[in-house]
């Protein structure tokens, strides 16, 4: 049994009753008096000069209240990374992809707004469009953005140690190429928002976002408002996975239209517009060269990567760095060289998605490590155990593993999957494979350069003493962070979970950088814990004064006050409380002083009891260029074993079983941890087997819907054995760290390796559709390779 009452349990989610009954409020459930509806005009062309925009017919349509273009919105440049602001709200000189925003309309209803959009006439002059990395990088290719020759949006060149020298000492050096595909995050709730600009000049934006804080800053900057006049409020959100981690043209269109009309304006993306806005996973093309000794010791990795970025930068600079830095662990790797290029193309913009930048890189490398294990005649698990890092190790790119249960995860999946009994003993068409991975537990630095706290939390006890109110700007997006914060607050304060209420996702509650980079449990958790301890200290101080007993002789546990000494007489407190509540039926009784009485006493002595907490990581990482990307106060890690059946005649894969072990530090909510593991595996399975955004020759998406863009259905998901491996993370609240993204990292390579084990064919390109697998099998037969 744990020493804790609340954390490390399977507490039900706070939002479960509302979500199960449909009472939870999402953006589409919100309406306001006098509300207008907005719609956006998007470019039908991939690359073209704008010669003229004529909005006169749209403006004359009855019911239209405002029409805005770059002329009204101005040309404030924005983006994600301040180093590369390359977007304006609306296109002015040219459009750069099918879907680029040109104008927006607010009208009395959506029909009218859409009709008005169709009445805006834009004259274009076609420009040559570039759809592939190869086309875009040709010397002298037309530039999407001035000043970026060969359309290189960002490039990274790093070397740690001496890779070439290390290769010379290796017994085996091999090079493999790996190609992943552009993805969509396919969250269930498309983006939506309501902007409400009031007559005192305050702008409130209700929006389906992962990052209220960053949205507030970008909106203020682009609208030209002081940050203090902009408030962002997040209702319940139906998933984000990364693409909702930045301000969108939808949000800013609603804001400017509300400012023009001084009425609330509601806007939504359709599913097709979600695909067009994208900001989801890039396509990665990795070429990796790895050198090892005969005994399996990893010596060096040379990693070259090209990313198809789409028309703007978004998170792309971080992405191209992550595609290198996240291979520094979890194996001891003394030499690593990375060259990465992110290329602009005339397609929707790619950004961050679960496992940001690290997913394809890990798939490529773990797949290659499997090949190396085979060539060395080693069991793939033994190769990994031979090289695995342990707590306290630092990677060659200066990431510190303050806790790391990597070895324990590998052993757990080996045992959980019965690896030793299955590996090498399965019939043709059936296979088993494994892989490992690690991920940040919160980015070490904010997106904009600042000494800001990453999270501030405020806890206020209700004046009656009965309720603990937690106020945080953090973002509950379906992952369960509100429940996590309630559990941390309850544990740290010593109250019952039912006593805690969480209000979150509002920039008025404080600073929180939001739900990205798997940061909230660790960072918001820290601030929540500190705020709860602050409140607890204040209550205990008052009790100490009133009861004339030392503070360290009093504790709070399970909503009751625990005194070390038996002689403490609290009858005066109780008598006063009962007197105040004459007629109430729930008066405190029993031998223990309750927290409610204590909190009421504290209020009577000091006024409202408010505690605050804050968190920012210490200075992390190295001094080299780009050293910040990949830093984190802690790293989660995981190992997975996947079993598959491959229909050798059709190429169709069935994933039969997945065994996943994840080190999340100390689990705050065990059910939530397992939920994140399950969800990550499902997303990884989709990316491995089905998912690809496809385009026609004019740069239009062919499958911008969830019928043709195939995410896994319930029937495609096998049983998952989720094993929680706990380490005690010194930098985490109660020893906790991430699980939200790290669990996706090993999924693709584990599937790739299992498919090889089943078929004897290595496939270096995703997704593993039946056709791709079949063609690989056919090519092997045609080559006369009969080796199984």
């Amino acid at each position: 049994m744990s020493e804790y009452s609340i954390i490390n349990t399977r507490a039900p989610r706070l939002d479960a009753p509302d979500k199960a009954t449909g009472r939870a409020t999402f953006i589409d459930d919100l309406n306001m008096p006098g509300m207008l509806f907005g719609a956006i005009l998007q470019s039908p062309l991939a690359h073209a000069k704008i010669l003229n925009i004529d909005t006169s017919r749209a403006k004359k349509l009855p019911g239209v209240k405002a029409v805005v273009t770059a002329e009204e919105a101005g040309l404030v440049k924005y983006g994600v990374s301040p180093a590369r602001y390359d977007e304006t709200l609306y296109c002015h000189e040219k459009v750069r992809y099918v879907g680029d925003e040109i104008a927006a309309v607010a009208a009395v209803d959506l029909e009218t707004a859409l009709e008005a959009v169709s009445l805006i006439r834009v004259d274009y002059d076609d420009l040559p469009a570039l759809f592939t990395i190869e086309e875009a990088m040709v010397e002298g290719a037309p530039a999407l953005h001035e000043g970026f020759p060969q359309n290189i949006c960002a490039e990274v060149h790093q070397e740690f140690g001496d890779v070439e020298a290390a290769f010379n000492e290796c017994d085996l050096v091999r090079t493999d190429k790996f190609i992943s595909k552009r993805q969509d995050a396919a969250f269930i709730e498309p983006h939506g928002c309501i902007a409400d600009y009031d007559l005192s000049g305050h702008l409130t934006l209700h929006t389906s976002t992962q990052v209220p804080h960053y949205v507030m800053r970008t909106v203020a900057m682009v609208m030209g408002l002081p940050v203090g006049d902009v408030r962002v409020v997040k209702p319940y959100v139906g998933g984000g996975f990364g693409p909702k981690a930045e301000a969108t043209p939808l949000e800013m269109s609603a804001c400017i239209l509300s400012m023009k009309t001084v009425r609330p304006v509601k806007m939504n993306y359709t599913r097709e517009q979600v695909f067009l806005h994208s900001r989801a996973r890039h396509q990665f093309i990795h070429t990796m060269t790895t050198g090892v000794k005969k005994d399996g010791t990893l010596m060096a990795l040379k990693n070259e990567c090209y990313l198809d970025g789409g028309a703007y930068t978004s998170f792309g600079i971080a992405t191209v760095y992550y595609a290198g830095s996240l291979l520094g662990g979890p194996y001891k790797l003394p030499n690593m060289k990375y060259d990465g290029w992110r290329i602009y193309t005339n397609k929707p913009v790619c950004g961050a998605q679960r496992g940001h930048g690290g997913v394809a890189a890990r798939a490529a490398w773990e797949h290659q490590l499997d090949i190396i294990a085979e060539e060395l005649g080693m069991d793939p698990i033994e190769l990994r155990l031979k090289n695995v890092m342990v707590a306290g190790d630092t990677t060659c790119n200066e990431l510190n593993m303050s806790s790391l249960g990597m070895k324990e995860c590998v052993e757990a999946v080996r045992q959980g999957s019965k690896w030793n009994a299955k590996r090498g003993k399965m019939p043709r068409g059936k296979g088993i494979g494994m892989a490992c991975g690690f991920f940040v537990s919160g980015a070490g630095y904010p997106i904009y350069r600042s000494d800001t706290y990453h999270s501030t939390v405020l806890i206020k006890l209700s004046e009656d003493g009965g309720t603990v109110n937690v106020y945080t700007g953090s973002a509950e997006i379906g992952q369960g962070s509100d429940t996590t914060m309630a559990m941390i607050a309850a544990e740290a304060l010593g109250v019952r979970l039912d006593d805690v209420r969480v209000a979150s996702g509002d920039t008025e509650f404080g600073v929180d950088l939001g739900a990205y980079s798997s940061r909230q449990t660790l960072m918001t958790g820290h601030a929540t814990k500190e705020a709860a301890e602050d409140v607890k200290r204040q209550v205990l101080e008052v009790l100490s004064e009133k009861l004339n007993t030392p503070v360290d002789g009093i504790d709070i546990k399970d909503g009751l006050i625990i005194f070390k000494s038996k002689d403490v007489d609290f009858s005066a407190i109780r008598a006063r409380y009962i007197k105040e509540h004459r007629g109430w039926s729930d008066l405190p009784r029993g031998n223990d002083l309750t927290f409610r009485e204590a909190a009421r006493t504290a209020y009577l002595a000091r006024g409202s009891i408010v505690g605050t907490g804050k968190y920012k990581p210490p200075e992390l990482g190295g001094k080299y260029k780009g050293a910040a990307v990949g830093t984190s106060p802690a790293y989660g890690c995981s190992a997975q074993v996947v079993e598959v059946t491959v229909d050798m005649e059709t190429g169709k894969i069935t994933v039969d079983k997945m065994t996943d072990a994840h080190d999340c530090g100390f689990a705050i909510n065990r059910t939530s941890v397992e939920g994140q593991m399950q969800g990550s595996l499902c997303m990884g399975l989709g990316e491995a087997m089905f998912e690809e955004v496809k385009f026609d020759e004019d740069g239009r998406i062919l499958n911008a819907n969830l019928g043709e863009y195939k995410i896994p259905t319930a029937l495609d998901m096998p049983n998952v054995e989720a094993i929680i491996v706990e380490s005690n993370e010194p930098n985490g609240p109660f020893g906790a760290k991430e699980v939200g993204e790290g669990a996706i990292i090993p999924t693709i390579p584990a599937i790739l390796n299992a498919v090889y084990d089943a078929t004897g064919v290595r496939i270096n390109e995703l997704p593993l559709t039946p056709e791709r697998v079949y063609m690989a099998l056919k090519a092997k037969v045609e080559k006369g390779d009969t080796r199984d």
């Binding site: 019928g707 056709e771 056919k778």
Partner: protein, 293 residues
């Protein structure tokens, strides 16, 4: 996405529906489950001025398994078809087709007639219905006619149904003894799929261990309409069923088909899969035929 404006009619009898269609003709579209039509209307591919709903006509919702041919009303849903034990017993391949159409949500709405008149090349119900030799009844105010499903499709989205006609019923003769059928759908994932290739096969034996008397092979998603492959069928007729025979039939079906490349799959893969799936569907049909006295 919003629906364009239209007038909505809800007749309660087939006669009334026929009358409305006779008056409105091309300006109107019939709607049953709407799983195809509404999507196309939202995408502005279709914008009929009138929708004529068949949902209130109870006569179109019957499944008659009693004597004579199986009669299925136009508005019977895929879910009802998939759940019918009687259909599963006698027409297993058709039952299978209904059970893999779309998802549970779609199956609850989508109707058999809708799946036929929408005439999508990859639709799940036509192949097995054609393999069983199904006919459809087309009614209008002036009378009715019956058309073999084989002669029903004209191209993607196009059928022989006249602008004033309503598909009211599907008829399938009950198979004699020693007959069986199989249906296989190949997609990328396990459900919510559009077939890359689908194959239905039907076999009738002259006795339990006898020769093949009749055979039908129908391929979907490899041509503008579901197609039979007479060359492969001819290989089977009069022969004793063997594994080699089915392999040969599969090869012939593949050779004589002309699938195309599209973003869902290549012609080469589709052709190779026709070979594999035809063989497998024939094996299924044969196994059922031997056990169906």
């Amino acid at each position: 996405m919003l629906l364009p404006k239209f007038d909505f009619h809800e007749p309660t009898t087939i006669e009334e529906a026929c009358q409305i269609m006779a008056e409105l003709g091309q300006k109107a579209k019939l709607i049953a489950g709407g799983t195809d039509l509404i999507v196309n209307m939202k995408r502005k591919v279709l914008s009929p001025e009138h929708l004529v709903s068949l949902s209130r006509i109870d006569a179109l919702k019957n499944v008659d398994l009693s004597d004579g041919p199986l009669r299925i009303g136009a508005c019977v849903t895929a879910a009802a078809l998939a759940e019918s034990e009687g259909i599963k017993r006698t027409f297993s391949a058709f039952s299978k087709g209904a059970s893999v159409l779309g998802t549970p949500l779609i199956r609850n709405l989508a109707t058999i007639a809708g799946n036929l008149v929408s005439a999508r090349p990859a639709a799940d119900l036509p192949p097995s219905l054609m393999a069983y030799g199904a006919k459809v009844v087309l009614k209008k105010s002036a009378g009715e006619r019956s058309v073999a499903l084989e002669d029903f499709f004209r191209g993607p989205g196009q059928t022989v149904v006249g602008k004033d006609e309503i598909l009211t019923e599907i008829l399938i003769d009950k198979p004699l003894g020693y007959t069986g059928a199989g249906y296989i759908k190949l997609g990328v994932r396990k459900t919510l799929e559009i077939s890359l290739v689908n194959v239905a096969a039907f076999i009738s034996l002259d006795s339990q261990d006898g020769s093949i008397q009749r055979a039908r092979i129908v391929l979907g998603a490899v041509a503008p309409i579901p197609i039979r492959v007479p060359s492969a069928e001819q290989i089977l007729v009069g022969e004793k069923p063997t594994e080699t025979l089915f392999v040969r039939a599969g090869e012939t079906a593949a050779q004589d088909s002309r699938p195309i490349d599209d973003f869902r799959g290549s012609a080469e893969y589709r052709r190779d899969m026709i070979e594999v799936l035809t063989r497998r569907a024939l094996e299924m049909a044969f196994n059922e035929a031997r056990s169906h006295e």
